[in-house]
Structure formats: structure tokens, C-alpha cells
Symmetry: C2
Subunit: 297 residues, 2 copies
DNA sequence: CAGTTTGATAACTCATAGTTATGAATCCCT
DNA sequence: AGGGATTCATAACTATGAGTTATCAAACTG
């Protein structure tokens, strides 16, 4: 082997692949044009791959070159992440972990998980933000958060998913509503009452699942309000604006004048799921996932 | 910025991180010990990360160093994959794609998918091998195959999953069996007949799902044979060794003296899923997944 | 305490990245 | 057509810094 590809080569390659113009690219790299020419040539020889077609006075990427460009950008981004995480470790921060979650995850799952995690990792900084399902997905793709807690069936490619906790649905009524556990027969008792539900923007698949419940019960609900968080739903119920159907675990942690009737006879369940980006290199992610897999809810 | 990290630095770092001994590592790299010392020092300065603790005459990795080592090995492996794929593209091979599949995928899904794929990618070499669910998972993790077609609920971390086609189950009987579509009432009619089933090693979750069917029907089956492929199950049924329950799509493509009764009344379904490794850089994988997502079975 | 082994420092040399100068080919105007 | 401009490639030169040898200080070993 004669020459050896170095970082420099890849850097130059990416610049030229963008400009497709030796002189311009060389100026942007603060080197001379012949210098760039030679380095690119060297790189092509060393890898044994023709990256550019030089016909006439036009430069274009070959198929292999296009592929390289796409993948290298990707790869270098990861490398940059690795280095910046290493820097954090170096500076004594054991690291930080950014979480997004849908409100209903805060009642049961998240507290348990964080407690368990803190046991093993004292100096970890957490960044915890409530955000709806779709916001989390976008944030995960942009790597603005490391993990999300969502209620949805499928996620875009590139994201991984781990089911955490399966929950039944519950009917939520004002505390003084005439129907209670003993007099509850079926949902159709409520076909004339207004419902307050999570907005379909919260999660399309969650919304469809709830609609399926009504469908199975044989009526279309009167929807009086759409909202995006549990406490406002509960507040509205408390004040007799209507009733609702929500994940059962929301029962915990609210002190309001409302009552829950668990719909454990219907087949629908909602599963809280952990989602993360497969290219995330945060060193704590691996640990977090291990703990999440161990814990049984 | 003074110095710039180059490939060389990472190569040296990995060598030293293994040996934890400057002289030994330097010999292995065919450079002198002071040369190595200086390059490592430069790298630490350039990155702003202390990679090694040098106390007494012992060298050990810092936390950041350990993390770096782990991640860099990973990252370089990917880079090597990228280059080798680029080489393939360069040599005119549009690429090759290695598939694993469970037998029951060959009847419907795979032929359609491959046909569609071939339309857009003429010069692609396929490597198609029947293998059971678990073999596929191992092969995917080792990147011995690019995509797998499996019937299982969950896969290890690092693998991604895409549901393709939901299938009902069917009861399979010898062609001359006294029960047929019109006289079939329920599974319990078969509680005294021997069943031939896929072995549980085929896929634990698939096995459990089938057992659930028997559970719902209120009896435990007499299992006369376990086997791992469809044609041997059918051959046994043909010769009156028993009956079976299999995915309905296996109906196609076999010419045997057997008959199918679709169990579309029971809730159980089996979903054929596509699985791939999230770090796979095969340039065709992306295309293949796009086509798989478009096609509706 | 002599002998050995460790990594670091200093001064040198030599390979090669990057330079300037130039050339060949193509385009683009009158 | 033909002069001028623009493209990338080639050749010869320069100088940066990777890798060298020589040496040191510190810590283990017996």
C-alpha cells in the first residue's frame, strides 16, 4: 500500500462534492487548486473508487461518489457526537440525558425509571420535558432529545421502539355523576353526553384507537372539547363540561372531584412506549435502555 | 486552531488503548515510541479530552477514553463498510442484498417485493436463504444478511422492524378428512386429534400465539410431531399423521392432498415483519425499505 | 543502590501536503 | 474563425510536521 487516506481527504471530498468545482472548493478550503486536485486523485487511488467524473470542463459525482457523500456526512456527524460526548465525560459530567414524555407517562412509569437510573448514575443531569407524541418524534429525529415516551403504534424509520407498559382505558366522570362502578353497564349509557378528548394532533393512532372504542360501543360521541393535556381534561370534567376516556394510569397523581371506571372488558389497550434514535451515541442511552428493559411495570 | 486530528491519531489511539503500553503499541504500529507519545498528546490537546491517565509507570484509559474506544471501533467499522460498498458500486455491481426468510414468506410477500425491486434495480444480485426466525436475528446482528422476514413480536435492540402483512391462521386437514368448511363448527372438534406444529425453536412468540389459540378453544392439543418447515408438515398431514394450524398464506404454492379451513373468527393473527440492522450501510437497503413500505399486501 | 523499564523531551531529517508556474482542452464571444 | 477566458491536470519547488535518534527523569526490581 502506498498512500493512506486521511481525514483531510474526506473533508476535501465533501467540499468538492458540494461545489463540483475544483477552484471554488479549493478556495473554500484555503488551499490551492492543484493541491486539491492531487489530494482527490490520491484518495480515489487509495480507495480504489472513482468518485468524480471529469468530462469536458464539468465535474460530477459518480454513483459511488454520491453514495459516499451521503454516508460520510452521516458518519462524520456521528463522529462529532462521539467527540462531544467524550468531552462531557472528560469534564466530570457523567453526562446528560434529555427526555420527552406524554403527560400520562409521568404518573407511573417515569418516576420509577428515573429513580432506578439515579441509583446507578449519581452525576447525571436530566432534562425532562412534556411534549406531545409528534413533537417528540421530530425532536428525536433532530436528536434534540435522547428518549421519548409516546403512545403511538409506529414510528419513522431510524427510530427504535420498546413497549414499556400496557394500560387499560378508563371512563372519567364527575365525582357526583349518577353512574358509578355498580351502575355502569356499558359505554352506550353515555351516548348523549358530551366527551372531552385528547386532540387528534396528540397522536393519530391514539385518536383512532379511542374512536374504535366508540365504534365498538355502537355510537359516535358528541365531542365538546379537544385538548392536549390531562389536567385540563380533568378540570373540565370536574366542572361538568362532560366526560372522557383516558389511560387508566392517569388515575394516580390528581386530586380532583372526578371518578374513574376502568374499561377492562373492552379489548383496546394503550401501550406506553420508549422511543430513541438508532444513531444516538449518548453513552448513557445504552444504560438507560438496559434499565428500562429490566424494570417491569 | 493549531493542530488537526487525523485518522492516524485515531488509529494510534486504538492501538494504545488496547496495549496500554507506549513502547509495545508503537512497535505494533511500526513507529518509534516518542512518535507515538507525541501524536497521542496532540490528539488529546486537539480534542480537549484526556484519554489516558499516566500515573507511575502505568497507563490506563480515562472514562472518556473508554467511551471513545468503544464508539470509535464501532464508527470505523461502519466507515469500512461504507468504503467497501462504494467499491462495489464503482465496479458496476449495483450492489447485492442478502435476504433471510421464514418459509411462509415465500408464498406471497417475497416474490411480489423482489419483482417490484427488480423493476427499478436491474443489476442487483440477490442472496436469498430460508432460515428460521432466530437464525435470522443472529445473522442480522452479525450483518451476515441485510434483511430478514420473520414472524415474531419483538427483536433485540439495534434491529428495526416493519410489519408487512397480517395473516389469519388456517386449520390444515387431509383432503379426505370428514370435517370440511361446511361441517366445521369450532376447534374443539379436534381436541382428540394429533397436531403437527412448528417447533417452539422456530419462534417462541409464534409458538405461544398458537398455544393461545388452543387455550381459547379450551383444550391442550395432542402434539404428535414438531418440525420446522411447511412442506414437511403438509407431507405428514397428507399421510394422515395429524392436522395442523398454520398461517393462511401457506395455502398457495403447494400441490398436496390437503385442505385449508381459514380460522378468521378467532382473534389471533400472525404478522410477517421485515427486520434489518439499524447500522447497516448497504446502499440498497434504503431503497428496499422504501419499496416494502409502498407495497400493500 | 546498580540495573532495568517506563513515558517525556529535545533536536534532527525526510516525506509529503501545499505552493507557484504552466499547459491542454473547452467554451464563449464578436 | 480566432483571441480571451475558464476549466482541470501536470511538473517542479518549498516548508510543515510526522517520525527519527539520543537522552533524561522517575519509578520499579532485586
Amino acid at each position: 500500500m502506498s498512500y493512506q487516506t486521511e481525514f483531510r481527504h474526506f473533508k476535501y471530498f465533501l467540499a468538492l462534492a458540494e461545489d463540483l468545482h475544483f477552484r471554488k472548493a479549493s478556495e473554500r478550503l484555503f488551499i490551492s487548486q492543484p493541491g486539491l486536485s492531487r489530494q482527490i486523485k490520491q484518495m480515489e487511488e487509495a480507495l480504489g473508487v472513482n468518485l468524480f467524473e471529469r468530462h469536458n470542463r464539468k465535474v460530477k459525482l459518480t454513483k459511488a461518489g454520491e453514495y459516499m457523500q451521503r454516508e460520510l456526512i452521516n458518519n462524520f456527524q456521528r463522529l462529532a457526537d462521539i467527540i462531544s460526548h467524550a468531552k462531557l465525560l472528560n469534564d466530570g459530567v457523567d453526562g446528560n440525558l434529555k427526555l420527552g414524555y406524554v403527560g400520562s407517562a409521568m404518573q407511573r412509569v417515569i418516576p420509577d425509571l428515573l429513580l432506578k437510573f439515579k441509583e446507578e448514575h449519581k452525576n447525571v443531569l436530566f432534562d425532562i420535558n412534556e411534549m406531545d407524541n409528534n413533537k417528540q418524534i421530530t425532536a428525536l429525529l433532530k436528536q434534540e432529545i435522547d428518549v421519548g415516551f409516546v403512545r403511538m403504534e409506529r414510528v419513522p424509520r431510524g427510530l427504535n421502539i420498546l413497549p414499556l407498559f400496557e394500560d387499560t382505558f378508563s371512563l372519567v366522570l364527575p365525582a357526583d355523576h349518577k353512574v358509578d362502578e355498580s351502575t355502569f353497564i356499558g359505554l352506550s349509557q353515555f351516548k348523549d353526553e358530551p366527551f372531552i378528548l385528547f386532540d387528534s394532533s396528540y397522536s393519530q393512532s391514539y385518536y383512532e384507537k379511542v374512536m374504535q372504542i366508540f365504534d365498538d360501543a355502537g355510537f359516535a360521541p358528541i365531542i365538546s372539547h379537544n385538548t392536549v393535556n390531562a389536567s385540563s381534561i380533568f378540570r373540565l370534567i370536574e366542572n361538568n363540561f362532560g366526560v372522557s376516556i383516558v389511560p387508566t394510569s392517569l388515575k394516580l397523581g390528581f386530586d380532583m372531584k372526578i371518578k374513574f371506571i376502568e374499561l377492562d372488558k373492552i379489548p383496546q389497550r394503550t401501550t406506553l412506549k420508549l422511543v430513541w434514535n438508532s444513531v444516538n451515541t449518548n453513552p448513557l442511552l445504552e444504560n438507560f435502555l438496559n434499565i428500562a428493559e429490566e424494570v417491569n411495570f
